[in-house]
């Protein structure tokens, strides 16, 4: 029993170390945004300041990068949601053999390294004279973000009761109407969730975007370039704002999801 207790104690230590490993880097990065030091660090502490936040706020290049990322994210959602949903619907109506082949092809972008997706997109579109830029970033990102939408919609579709469609048809609804009034409302939570995921994936993407960006500088590229060319705590300030926004967004999304779950008990 003694051995048991030691083992348990060691495990608790390991858990604590794991949590520290998860959060210490983020904490230090956040705290460094308030240090007057020109290089972002927490040791030595040269005085507390909010100047780096105003420096970040005044940086026109940052705003431009943010704007680029926002446009890309919106376009990605506009393309990925319909195509991903269509893919899920097509896949669920296929039969066993065709289905597993189609499935392998459709999830293949998830198994392709991000840099390769960027490169192959860049090469293809050069043939028709389109170089890197916002359009190509959207094309390259949607290539794999569609897969995420598809998987999330498929997961929801598995719980769908087809007799609802048949009932609506029997009551004289057209097939388009059944789709709009029965299936789409049922898929709504999955569509909202995958929309959120698509925005997150798009804004955070770096590996794919790097190759197709042309002369555009989305937010991730902006930050990575800053790290290499002249890192100041202004970047930490930006990081902290982004982290706060993502965490708040994630919590709000989780609350909304739980509310949805309680409002619609499973059939």
């Amino acid at each position: 029993m003694m051995a048991d207790r030691i083992f348990r104690g060691l495990f608790v230590l390991y858990l604590l170390a794991f949590v520290a490993y998860l959060f210490a880097p983020l904490l230090i990065m956040g705290v460094a945004a308030f240090n007057e030091s020109r290089f972002p660090t927490v040791i030595p502490w040269q005085g507390t300041t909010l100047d780096w936040f105003s420096a970040m706020w005044a940086d026109a290049a940052m705003w431009k990068a943010l704007w680029t990322s926002a446009i890309v994210a919106v376009l990605v959602v506009v393309v990925a949601l319909p195509v991903g949903t269509a893919a899920a619907l097509v896949l669920t109506t296929l039969h066993s053999r065709a289905r597993s082949v189609a499935y392998a092809v459709m999830v293949s972008p998830l198994l392709t390294p991000g840099v390769v997706i960027g490169i192959s997109t860049l090469i293809l579109w050069r043939q028709v004279g389109i170089g890197g830029g916002i359009a190509l970033i959207v094309v390259a990102q949607t290539t794999f973000i569609i897969c995420y939408v598809m998987l999330m919609v498929m997961a929801r579709l598995q719980r769908f009761d087809r007799t609802q469609e048949e009932a609506a048809l029997g009551l004289g609804a057209s097939r388009v109407m059944v789709f709009r009034r029965v299936l789409l409302p049922f898929l709504r939570p999955a569509l909202l969730a995958s929309g959120g995921l698509a925005i997150l994936q798009s804004v955070e993407n770096y590996n794919t975007t790097l190759f197709v960006r042309g002369f555009e500088t989305p937010l991730t590229v902006f930050i990575a370039t800053k790290v290499r060319t002249g890192l100041t705590p202004a970047v930490n300030a930006l990081a902290l704002v982004i982290i706060a926004a993502t965490v708040i967004g994630a919590i709000a999304w989780e609350i909304a999801r739980r509310r949805q779950l309680t409002a619609q008990p499973r059939p």
Partner: protein, 293 residues
């Protein structure tokens, strides 16, 4: 196909089908085919494109095979990615087991939240956090010096930094599949093993790990692939001595100006990744359908 039309009617079914076909043809298949074509052709000035010199050959691949530095970086990227996967597995397994079998529901929901929050944060920012932590005059060196473990600061940037940053970046991809797999293990099996006198390590080796094999394989495959294809961690946390294969590819495109050779290199990386994924899944007898969950 017929089912699709029967279910949604001609108009909708045609729209769905064409959206999917456009995606697969123009965004998945065509770019990869074009990349293969590029990789097989020499890099020529515009005037010579379409002439006899513009023929298919394996020259770009042979160049990689014969160029000592690039070849070494290629193999290093492979084994370093495997190492990242192995270390991530070792770090995550005890946590996953605890979450799946030992934690109370309250502890579990806190644990899930704690592991998921960092992963809502962008990979570039997470890497930046490590960049700051590992800086030469940064907090980690200061702390280690403070408690007297080291006398002089250590230059973490390089292989060690890349490893730490990558393990950090891919924890969730390892933790969740393993957690899901262990969660379905009936607790009575663990109790039976213990009652029959099996020591803890043997229960894990003979009961838990075989049961969680699919989850472990999935986690390893994803971590390996993400690590091999990563650009940001080696670029920010590495040193000139720890270059990653993706950085060599990038240089062909944007500094060397030889897209054909870059395409050949990218294709090599892709084939390698797919091979590792498929072989690992085959060995662990996991279906592709179960992976993407």
């Amino acid at each position: 196909m017929r089912d699709l039309y029967a279910r949604f009617g001609g108009g909708l079914a045609t729209i769905f089908l064409s959206l999917v076909l456009i995606w697969l043809a123009a965004m998945v298949l065509a770019p990869n085919l074009m990349m293969i074509d590029y990789a097989l052709r020499p890099n020529l000035p515009p005037a010579q494109i379409g002439t006899e010199a513009d023929a298919w050959s394996l020259d770009n691949f042979l160049y990689l095979a014969n160029e000592g530095v690039h070849r070494a970086i290629f193999f290093k990227t492979i084994w370093a990615s495997a190492l990242v996967a192995a270390v991530t597995l070792v770090v995550c397994y005890p946590i996953a087991f605890w979450m799946a079998q030992r934690a109370t529901p309250g502890q579990l929901s806190i644990a899930l939240m704690l592991v998921i929050i960092p992963f809502f944060i962008n990979e570039v920012l997470r890497t930046l956090a490590w960049f700051i932590l590992l800086a030469y005059r940064g907090p980690l060196n200061a702390a280690l010096q403070g408690i007297g473990l080291i006398d002089a600061p250590i230059r973490w940037q390089g292989d060690g930094g890349v490893l730490a940053g990558m393990v950090y970046a891919y924890i969730l991809f390892m933790l969740l599949p393993i957690y899901n797999a262990i969660e379905s293990l009936d607790r009575s099996q663990l109790e039976a093993a213990r009652d029959l006198g099996s020591p803890t390590w043997r229960t894990h080796w003979r009961v838990v790990i075989p049961h969680a094999k699919a989850g472990i394989a999935t986690g390893c495959v994803f971590t390996f692939m993400l690590a091999a294809g990563s650009y940001v961690a080696p670029a920010l946390l590495g040193s000139p001595g720890s270059r990653w294969f993706t950085e060599i590819i990038y240089n062909w495109f944007f500094e060397g100006g030889d897209w054909n050779r870059g395409a050949a290199y990218a294709l090599t990386l892709l084939v390698l990744c797919l091979a590792v994924v498929l072989v690992t899944l085959r060995i662990a007898r996991v279906n592709l359908t179960d992976v993407a969950k």
